[in-house]
Every structure is written in C-alpha cells, then in structure tokens.
Amino acid sequence: MSTLAIDKAGPRRKVKYGSISRNRTWALRWSYFFLVLFAIFSLTPPFYMLITSLKSSGEIAAATNPWWVFHPTLSNYIELLSSNQYLRFFLNSAMVSVVVVIITMLISVPAAFALARMKFWGSAVLATGVFLTYLIPDSLLFIPLFKMFAAIGDLTGIQLINRWYVLLFLYPTLTVPFCTWIMIGYFASIPKELDEAAIIDGASWFQTLTRIFIPVALPGLIAATIFAFTVSWAQFLYPLVFTTSTDQLVLPVGIITTLVKGDVFSWGQIMTGALLGAAPPLIIYAFLMDYYIAGLTAGATKG
C-alpha cells in the first residue's frame, strides 16, 4: 500500500524502489512452491510403504482406497522382527557395511593424502584414474568379477562365492574411488602452509595426516563415511549375483528373494522390511546431516 501512495505523490519512476523486497517475496514463494512439490514427489513412495506396511494382506488385496489404512495392524512388523531369517539379513548387512566403511576409510584417506600432497611422478594421472574407475558401472563389472572369484576358488580352493564376506572385497571397488576423490578435494583445500608448518614442527608425513589433516578434514571424512555406508547398505546387484544361500544374504536381496515366492508377493512384509531397512541410513543422516553438507560443499567455499 505504501508504494501506491508514493506512486501517486511522486514522479512515476519512484515505483521501482519498492520492488527489491517484493522480488524477494516472490522468489521465496516460488522456492517454497517447488520445494513442496519436490517433497511430495520424494516422500510419496515412503509414505506408501508406511501405509502398506500397516495393512493386512487381506486389506492390501481388497479394492479399497490404497492411500488409507482402515484397519491398521502391526502384524507385518511382529512377523518380520520375530523371524530369524530377517534378523540374519539385517545382521549380515550391518557387518558388511561397517567393515566396508572401515576398509574404505583405511584405504582412501591415506590414498587421498598421498595424491593430494605428495607430488610424485604420475600422481595427477593417478588421481584422475581413481575417479575414472568410479565411472565404470557395477553392471559392467559383476561378470568379470564373478569369473575372477570363481577362478580364485578353483585355483586355491578358497571358496568366496556364496559367502557374505565376499562382499567385503566387492563393495570397496565402488566406495574407495569415490571416497578417495572426495578426500582429495577436501585435503587439497587445506592450505599448503599448514603441512609445511607441521613438517617444520617436526611431524612426519604420517603424523601430519593423523594429527593435522584428519582433524581438519573431519567434515569431509564424515561425508565420505556416510557415502560408503549408504552405498554398502543399499547395494543390490553384487549380493544378488554373489550370494544365494538365505543365511548369506544381505537385506535388499534377502527381502526380494524370500518375500517373493514365485508369483506371490507378500507386499505388506516387503514394505515393512524395506522400511525397517531404510532406518539405519536415515538415522545416520539425521545425526550427521550438517557435517555431510559441510563436507560436500567445503571445496567450493574454501577455495
């Protein structure tokens, strides 16, 4: 209203002056609009999972409104959580993911430090090579990898196929390159003088890494950890190919292979299993979200 008053009283071009805050308001409205749209789009599947997990098989099959529960029940949850099989999948997934995260960090942090800081012959090419490895999709790699492990089994008698721990060798092929790449970027953003000061203070390369670089790059390290955990937790193709016995399966494959019997889908249990399976990454994200964002954007702001 005030801008209108100015409009009448003063010369015409004064109208422009009120528009900065108005532009801002509109920008905000548009961003809210798209954010809400995006939230609806991405939250609909989990919502549908939640609805379905609370239904009995009868209600799922009935031709009622699929977006509402008329007779909520926890029977799917009770059945799954009291099934040894499902708990075994959960345990396998947890073991694989935790160990893969540890292996990944043990390899990629020193690798990133070496590639970012110790200028040796071919280090730049090697750094690019590490990233290129990540670009090769797992759907291209699983057949040669399977042949490799089969050959190892034939040659040495060490049978790795159809053992949950074969995944400990497979997942790092996905996690190590990406985590190394994140950490290279993060380490590179640490000023050169910081390690020079440490070297003059008498620190070895290893001490520079453990006492200066890792604490300073902690947000990046956490981002890499979350990434490695999520990838390991959600990986589907490798466990599908490499593990078959039900006691060796991890969660994503376990749910599909045991809860889909022929052409019978236990939708209620599938949704419940998937929802429970999504919980651990969700909890980790919720706690470490701020670190994760800081880690991913740090290179951009620190220059």
Binding site: A197, A198, I200
Partner: protein
C-alpha cells in the same frame, strides 16, 4: 643460535632459474631482511633455508653444518608464515606446543615454555582459545609464539605482516623487533615492503631477478646504493632519475641536465667523479627530499631552479610536488607552508651534495666512496 651461510645457491624450476647463485653470510644473532619485488627469488631463498625446497646447486649451512639434504625438522629452525598457518582444531596453547609434544618434551617444560612465550607476546589470556576466535594480529602473535617456544637456531619469517592492515602492521613490526631484541635468535625475514626492511633489519639484502643486488645496513643502502635498482627500490617516493652529462668548464665540473639547465657539481662530489669520462650519457639520481622549496639565503651545493607543478600531495608534515623537466617526471618534498599550487610555477632548489651519478647503460652507481 647459529650463523647461516649460503654458498652459490641456485634454484631451478625446469628451465627457469628462480635463484641464480647467491652468496650470503648471516652472523649469529643477526636480523637479516630479504627484500625485493615479487618473483625476485626472496621467498624461494627462505624456503630453501627452511628445507621446504630442494637446492638445485650450491650449499646452505646452518651453524657451520651443510644442511642441503637435512629434512626441515632436523634443521632446528622455526618459520612464521604469511597466512599464520595455525592448526585450526587446536587451541593457542596446543598450537604453540605441537612441535615440543612431537619431540616428547616433558609436560612441565612444555608448560613453562608456552607460558613464558605467551607472556613475552602478551597472549596469556588467549591461551585456551581456538585460532578462529582470534584477530589477525593475535594470530600472528600465536604464530610467533609457536616459533619462540621451540627455541630454534634460526627464525624464518615469510612476509608475516602482509595480511594485516596498515596500522596493525606498524604495531606488529615493533613487536617483532622487541621480541628479537629479547631472544636474539638469528632471523631471516622476507618482505616486499621496503619500509619493513629498513625498520627491522640489521642488514638488508636487496634481491632482483634471482640475484643479490646489494647487502648493507638500512642507512647504507639508502644513502649509498650500488645500483639503479637499489636506488629506485629503497625509499618512498622513489629516487628521481634524469639523463645528464658531465662537462668540464675551466677547473670546475658541471652537470648538464638540459640545454638550458646545468649546475656546478659541489667540490666534494666533483672529487669523486674526477675519473668519470666527460660527455657520456649518464643519469643523475636525486631523492625527493633533496628537491625542496628554494630558501632565501644561498647554501653551497644547493641550486635553485623553476618548475611548473603538475600535482601536489599534502601529507601533513610535508607536501609532495610532482613536476617534469624536459619530459622526465620528478618528485620533490616541500614544506607544507610553502605555497605549492598546481599549474603555477614554483622556485625549487636541488641539493647536489646528495646527488648520485649512474651509468645509463649498466645502471651502476658511479664514484661510490
């Protein structure tokens, strides 16, 4: 405490020679400042002393021992960086004690040394803070504290004040000088700021294009430069240079600046210049403070002339006047009360007792005492 010696030290990056065989002897307790324009090799020289850069050729000695292949941590040096390079996740006390902790000093001694250094630098209250909670000046003090607690043979400073604002820079300059007067550790200090160099140094090393142009005490460099580069680099505003010739007239020596303008060279200077060939192309160097307003009474060697002022800069304690002589821009410093007006002619005087004569081709200062 130790002396530092550089013998024909060379640094090559592929085809480029950044440092071209420099010799430098730094005495025990001495405060040496390496000064020069960017790219002159001063920082590279410092980093070679620190061991952060390999030496391509020559020898570097600290305390009489050749340290060419000794890693930085075993050279017993401490370095202060331009951007402070404090460890951001450690407190001030942890930053200062990091080196000592790596060397497994007893806890009591670490505490004593940190406390003493903090007292010396007046940062006792800040000891538990993190670097990001400190101002630029405070961070610089902590960086110095980290150097002091180590009690090294040599302090190395790499443009430590460049990130501070002008006022703080002057203040920290005095602090650094005070600290050196107390701890007396041999110091090598790199800066591009000639005022910092003049005020801090026992001796200044002027570098240019990878070579040492001149080494000397601040006043010696100022009053008796060896080359045109040093004469022009040291002093602000810079020394004036104008083309000239020496002429003999009877038993007197004249310096001819233009067809219409020439002065008699004062006897003391004429004595110095007696062997310089006449009628050769030379340069006269004269500092702005030796071009002043003309005084009513004549002084020996001070010659008056007229100039039309292009620009004046009142500085408070003096006024800088800019004018040109036959196309050569010149600067003088006059009393603020003298009527210096842009566009008007002014009677100025040049004090030839302080003139320098340079070879136009080589840039060498001729007839140095």
């Amino acid at each position: 405490m130790a002396e530092v010696n550089l013998r024909k030290v060379v640094k090559r990056y592929d085809d480029v020679e950044a440092v071209r065989g420099i010799d430098l002897d730094i005495a025990d307790h001495e405060f040496i400042v390496l000064v020069g324009p960017s790219g002159c090799g001063k920082s590279t020289t410092l980093r070679m002393i620190a061991g952060l850069e390999d030496i391509s050729d020559g020898d570097i000695m600290i305390g009489g021992d050749v340290v060419n292949d000794v890693p930085p941590k075993d050279r017993d040096i401490a370095m202060v960086f331009q951007n402070y390079a404090l460890y951001p996740h450690m407190t001030v006390a942890e930053n200062m004690s990091f080196g000592l902790r790596l060397k497994h000093y007893p806890k009591a001694e670490i505490k004593a040394r940190v406390t003493e250094a903090a007292r010396l630098l007046d940062i006792t209250d800040l000891i538990e803070r993190k670097p990001k909670q400190l101002s630029g000046g405070q961070r610089q003090r902590v960086a110095m504290g980290r150097a002091i607690v180590r009690n090294p043979k040599v302090f190395l400073f790499d443009e430590p004040l460049s990130n501070l604002d002008a006022k703080l820079r002057v203040q920290m300059r005095i602090e650094i000088k005070k600290v050196h007067q107390k701890v007396r550790t041999t110091t090598v200090y790199v800066t591009h700021d000639q005022v910092e160099a003049m005020t801090l140094a026992d001796r200044v090393v002027v570098m240019n294009k990878g070579r040492i142009e001149q080494i000397g005490a601040p006043n010696e460099l100022y009053h008796n430069p060896a080359t045109r580069f040093v004469a022009g680099f040291i002093g602000s505003p810079a020394m004036n240079f104008l083309p000239c010739r020496l002429e003999e007239s009877g038993d007197k020596l004249n310096i001819r600046l233009t067809d219409r303008l020439g002065f008699a060279v004062p006897p003391l200077r004429a004595q110095r210049y007696k062997n310089i060939p006449r009628n050769e192309k030379l340069l006269m160097g004269i500092r702005p403070e030796h071009i002043t307003e003309a005084r009513p009474h004549a002084e020996p060697g001070v010659e008056p002339f007229d100039a039309t002022l292009d620009v004046t800069e009142p500085m408070g304690m003096e006024t800088l006047v800019y004018f040109s002589l036959e196309g050569t821009p010149l600067c003088g410093r006059v009393n603020p009360n003298a009527a210096a007006r842009v566009g008007s002619a002014m009677r100025l005087a040049v004090d030839l007792n302080n003139m320098h004569l340079l070879d136009q081709a080589s840039g060498a200062v001729l007839g140095r005492p």
